[in-house]
Each structure stands twice: as structure tokens, then as C-alpha cells.
């Protein structure tokens, strides 16, 4: 059996619907005269499961998982990993240290640019953003818990 894209997509949403049911099991359903906090989430989860099953069933002639173009996957994975590390560091190191690291990493690791150029661009852009947001527009930027 070929693994169709819609089987995966439909299956994922069925699973999500079940997760909503499990997590919201304790929420009161209420009565139709006084709906509880759990009524709408459970109704919506039921609808999600129903729609997802239709998609999976109707997708028996759709494209296979291999036919989806995944050539951008390594780019996406690297970008998201670097952004996640930057987010971890953001509240600790603050804006002025995290952002140059983020931009430098994206240029050096993902784009394989010249390291000096990447460093100059990363520092210049961060300083420009700091000047624009913190000084001109007076927007509070994260200063970092390590320094305060």
C-alpha cells in the first residue's frame, strides 16, 4: 500500500482530535440550557475527527508522501533549530547578545556565507535594530536575566 499524503494528514488530525478529548475529559460538558466549559471543545474535536476521516478516505488517489517536494526540509530544520536555540538564550542573554548570534548562525551555518561578512552584518543589524526599537521608538527589549 502506498503511503498517501492525505492518510498522514487525516491521521494526524484524528490523533489531535483524540488528544483534545483526553485532555478535556474533566471539563464539564454542561447541559444544552447551560453549556459547560467542555461542550464546545468536545463538539469541535468530534468535527475535527469527522473531517479528518473524510480527508483520509477521499485521499486514496491523492499524491503519495514521496511526491511532496521535501528539498527545502534541511533548510527549514536548520532555521528552526537555530531560532529555537536563540529563543532559549533570549531571556538569559538578552537582545544585544542573542540577535547577533542568531543572525550570524543563520548566515554562517545555513547560508555558508563568508564568516567576517556574516559577523559584520549580524552586529550592524543588531545595533541598528537596537537603535530603532530601544532608542528611537522606546520599545523595551529583553535585557537578559544573567545581567540583571
Amino acid at each position: 500500500m502506498k503511503l498517501r499524503a492525505d492518510y498522514i494528514a487525516g491521521g494526524a488530525f484524528v490523533a489531535l482530535g483524540i488528544v483534545v478529548f483526553v485532555l478535556g475529559w474533566d471539563l464539564p460538558f454542561g447541559r444544552i440550557t447551560a453549556p459547560g466549559a467542555g461542550m464546545l471543545p468536545k463538539l469541535l474535536a468530534s468535527m475535527m475527527i469527522a473531517f479528518a476521516i473524510i480527508i483520509a478516505v477521499a485521499g486514496s488517489h491523492g499524491e503519495t508522501l514521496r511526491e511532496i517536494p521535501w528539498s527545502d526540509f534541511s533548510h527549514a530544520a536548520l532555521v528552526i533549530a537555530i531560532a529555537a536555540i536563540a529563543t532559549l538564550l533570549y531571556s538569559k542573554l538578552g537582545f544585544l547578545l542573542t540577535m547577533p548570534i542568531l543572525i550570524f548562525a543563520l548566515l554562517a551555518v545555513v547560508e555558508r556565507r563568508n564568516l567576517v561578512m556574516a559577523a559584520v552584518f549580524a552586529v550592524s543589524l543588531t545595533l541598528f535594530a537596537y537603535w530603532l526599537f530601544a532608542i528611537i521608538l522606546k520599545a523595551p527589549l529583553e535585557s537578559g536575566s544573567l545581567w540583571t
Partner: protein, 507 residues
């Protein structure tokens, strides 16, 4: 006469030098946001939203709205010169706009797009001026059942118009509504799906979800090796279209303006849908449909006018009903709420300076954009020459700043990253994320109005057909649902799918 005196009040606000400055900043930023691939009006507005906290609400709204309609102008520049849609609504302009550019008519295509945008934008503002106040008065009759029915109509209309399948669109809308259930239940006070994370107590914000899906998601699926910067730069003297090109564009601009405005009023990703419909109509009624895809003037004039008129039309439900027609409008509504001003029917009477000042600023803004877009085309072209490899790290940085600034919360940045991945996967599996965001936006209003309706009626659903307005809205919803189901089951390939396929063939 009352409208004219109110409009005079609006111009007295909009023409103040500091208000003009904020309108200009909004239009400039909007043009840039529309031009840059990977950052649409939603991400742009979200990033700049925290910066408006210190402004008075009129200036904040004027600047943010300027970004929105400015982005519709800016999107055409990238589409025509680079064949990359700066934002989703400009997809159709890519086809014939870039074909015109390759024939040496880039300047004319830009000029036609700018004139079309100006005419449509101005038409939209005139209609907004005439329609919004009486609609607001009418909306005072709306109670919870009417709001519930209206929101159902919005979702069904979006599903009906969507170029992906009805079921996929409805699934995305349900997903969005479920996300909107996260946080404290406003009626009973129960915590729902918040996993003891205090930041989730208030629910998931629209900004991190939307920036993740549309901003980061786009960047993840666009490696720099796929982006070509071969800009076709027009010379200034080539900007004026010929008399024949002007004649060919007049009809499409007029049709696109009317169509776009009325599509824009209905909840959904109206400005995107309107440009698709406009392109399909122009191609269908053209005496030379074979020219579409090869540089047809109508293929630029129609969609560009339609998306601008739609972006103005989208303000009608926001200002008169307090209902967001899409994620961008939802963020603008959030901006008003942050300033303590609830958008809705009472806005016209209780905040006349804000309402009319905002309307008047849109007349001024459209003029500014016309003046900006043509003479500054050389400047914009040089921005487009920045390699994408350097551009997207900058966009990611601005996304993080923008999302973090809304609540000073790293949790929001994590949500943005998660939805970046979700957006990437949804694109791979051919799901449109727009209904998801609309579902998230309307979830709190929908749940509250539905539960209030049921409490009012003692649990009887008859309340929805005992009240004439709600009944009419639900009948329209049922009709649209029936038509969509007919298209899916009987005709197999309905007009929306054909339209998408035709657009794909032309591209």
C-alpha cells in the same frame, strides 16, 4: 449632509501634521512590507503593534491601517519586477505583470497597478464612508444569536470561496476554533488546555500564531537558492502607459473595485480571494483570453484593483459590527482594544473623531501611496536587490522582536516557532492556514455568543430561526454550503478548483 460634516471633522483630524506623519510612516512601511517576500501585512502590523502603545488610538490605528493597505500597493512591485508575490494577494499580478515586464513594459505595469490600486482604494473608502455608519446603526439590533449566525456565515463563506477543498477549509477553521478554546473559560472560569502555563491562561495570541504561520512558515519553505534577484528595473520615463493600455485597464479597474469591495466585507481572506475571482472574470469576459499569462493589461489591472478595494471593504464589519474579517483586521481590533476602545456599532457615535479621522486618513493615505509608488520605484528596486540570504535572517529577527514585544513573553516566541513548523507542514499537505487564523480570531466571540444564545432560549436552537436577521444569515450559510457540496459531489470539479487550476496553468 451629515456624512459630509462628519467627513470634514475627519479631515480636520487626518490633516494635522503629526497624524499625516504617522499615515506616511504606515504607508511607507506597508509598501516595504508588501514588497518583501516572507513578511506580509500581518507580520508587519504585528511587529509594529507594540510601538503604537504610546500613541493615541487615532494615530495608532491610522499608522497600522496604512501598513495594511500600503502592503497591497507594495505587493505589486515585487510581483511585476521579480515574479515573486510580496504577499498572498499579489499572486495573480505575478502572471501578467511579470510577463509585461519581460516585454519591456514594467513601468507601464507598475503604473497601471498603482492607478488601479488608487482608484479601487478611493472607491472603497467612499463606500466605507457611506455604508459603515448606517450598518453600525443597524447592527445595534444584533444580539448573541445574530452574532453567532453572522460568524457561521463568515466561516461558511470562507469555505465556499476557498480554492482548496471544502472539507480541508472547514477542518482548518475547526482547528482554529479549538485553539481559541485554550485559556480561561470566560463563562465558568475553568482553565482549558493551559498545562499550568500562566501565559496560556489568557489564551493563545493571534500575533504569534499568525506570524508563525505566514511569516516564519513562508521562510522555512523558501530556501535562498530558490529566490532569484533578477529584477527587471524600469526607467522613470517608461512609467507612463500608452493610451491603448489605459483604455484596456479602465474596465478591469472598475469591475475589480466593485467586486473587491463587496467580497472584502465578508469575513475570510477577502483580499486574496478577490484577486483570484477578478483574474478569472477578466479572463472569461476578455475578447483575447489567449493573451492572459502573456502580459494582458487586464490581468494586472483587475486583480490589483480588487485586492485594494477588498482591503478597504474589510474595515466595514470591523468598524460597524466589531467583527474581524481576517487576521489582519483582528490585530487592528486588538490595537484598539489595547487603547481601551471596543470596535463596534458604538464607535461611530462614541468616538467620532477616531472613526472619521481614520476614514479621512484613508483618502489621504491612498494619495500618498500613489505619489510614493511611482517616483520611488528606483529606491524600491534597489531594496529588492538585497540578497534573500541576508533578508530572511533580518525578517526572523523582526518576527521575534514583534512577537516578544506584544506581551514581553518568551512563551509567545515559542508559540510562533511551533506555528512556523505547523505552517510549513500545512503547506506541504495542501492546507490553507487562513481559515485556521480566522477560526482562532472569532473563537471567543463565537463561543460566547453561542452560549449566551442557548442560555437566553433555555437551550432551544429555535432562537436562531425565530429571529429574522439570524434566520436570513443562516439560510445564506445553508445555501452556500449546499452549493459547495453540490460542486464537490456532483460536478466533481467546481468553479473554485477550475479557477485555481487555470491560474496554475497561466503561471
Amino acid at each position: 449632509m451629515e456624512v459630509l460634516s462628519s467627513l470634514a471633522l475627519g479631515f480636520s483630524v487626518a490633516l494635522q501634521p503629526d497624524v499625516l506623519l504617522y499615515a506616511l510612516i504606515g504607508c511607507l512601511v506597508g509598501t516595504l512590507v508588501g514588497m518583501l517576500p516572507g513578511i506580509g501585512p500581518l507580520a508587519g502590523i504585528s511587529i509594529l503593534l507594540p510601538l503604537t502603545f504610546g500613541l493615541d488610538p487615532t494615530k495608532a490605528l491610522i499608522m497600522l491601517a496604512g501598513i495594511y493597505y500600503g502592503s497591497q500597493y507594495g505587493g505589486s512591485t515585487t510581483s511585476i519586477l521579480l515574479r515573486i508575490p510580496g504577499e498572498a494577494a499579489s499572486v495573480m499580478t505575478c502572471i501578467d505583470g511579470n510577463a509585461m515586464a519581460k516585454k519591456g513594459r514594467a513601468g507601464a505595469a507598475l503604473c497601471i497597478a498603482a492607478i488601479g490600486s488608487f482608484v479601487a482604494g478611493t472607491f472603497g473608502v467612499i463606500m466605507l464612508t457611506l455604508i459603515a455608519p448606517p450598518l453600525a446603526t443597524f447592527a445595534l439590533r444584533f444580539g448573541p444569536p445574530e452574532y453567532t449566525a453572522l460568524l457561521v456565515l463568515g466561516l461558511i463563506f470562507l469555505a465556499y470561496m476557498s480554492t482548496t477543498s471544502l472539507i480541508r477549509t472547514l477542518l482548518m477553521a475547526v482547528f482554529g476554533l479549538l485553539l481559541g478554546m485554550i485559556g480561561i473559560d470566560v463563562v465558568s472560569g475553568h482553565f482549558r488546555f493551559s498545562f499550568d502555563i500562566p501565559e496560556l491562561g489568557d489564551g493563545i495570541g493571534i500575533v504569534p500564531v499568525a506570524v508563525g504561520l505566514f511569516g516564519l512558515g513562508e521562510i522555512l519553505s523558501t530556501p535562498s537558492r530558490d529566490v532569484k534577484n533578477d529584477v527587471v528595473a524600469p526607467k522613470f520615463r517608461e512609467l507612463l502607459p500608452t493610451r491603448d493600455e489605459m483604455r484596456q485597464s479602465a474596465g478591469p479597474i472598475a469591475r475589480g473595485s466593485v467586486l473587491g469591495f463587496f467580497v472584502g466585507i465578508i469575513p475570510g481572506s477577502a483580499h486574496i480571494i478577490s484577486s483570484f475571482i477578478s483574474y478569472a472574470i477578466e479572463r472569461r469576459i476578455s475578447k483575447h483570453p489567449e493573451e492572459f499569462g502573456k502580459g494582458a493589461v487586464a490581468g494586472v489591472a483587475g486583480p490589483e484593483s480588487a485586492n485594494n478595494a477588498a482591503s478597504t471593504g474589510a474595515f466595514v464589519p470591523m468598524l460597524s459590527l466589531g467583527i474581524p474579517t481576517g487576521p489582519v483586521i483582528a490585530v487592528l481590533m486588538a490595537a484598539l482594544l489595547i487603547h481601551g476602545i471596543p470596535p463596534g456599532p458604538s464607535l461611530v457615535n462614541e468616538q467620532p473623531k477616531l472613526f472619521w479621522g481614520f476614514v479621512a486618513s484613508m483618502y489621504v493615505g491612498n494619495l500618498m501611496l500613489l505619489a510614493l509608488n511611482l517616483p520611488l520605484v528606483g529606491v524600491f528596486v534597489s531594496i529588492l536587490r538585497i540578497p534573500y540570504a541576508y533578508l530572511y535572517p533580518m525578517i526572523i529577527m523582526f518576527c521575534i522582536i514583534g512577537v516578544y514585544e506584544v506581551n514581553n513573553s518568551v512563551v509567545d516566541v515559542w508559540i510562533m516557532l511551533i506555528f512556523g513548523v505547523v505552517g510549513y507542514l500545512l503547506k506541504k499537505f495542501r492546507f490553507d492556514p487562513a481559515p485556521l487564523v480566522l477560526g482562532l480570531v472569532i473563537a471567543p466571540i463565537f463561543e460566547l455568543s453561542l452560549r449566551q444564545s442557548l442560555i437566553m432560549s433555555g437551550g432551544s436552537f429555535t432562537i436562531f430561526y425565530q429571529r429574522p436577521i439570524a434566520l436570513v444569515l443562516l439560510l445564506i450559510s445553508a445555501l452556500l454550503l449546499g452549493l459547495a457540496a453540490w460542486g464537490a459531489f456532483v460536478a466533481r470539479r467546481d468553479w473554485r478548483a477550475k479557477m485555481a487550476a487555470e491560474a496554475g496553468e497561466s503561471a
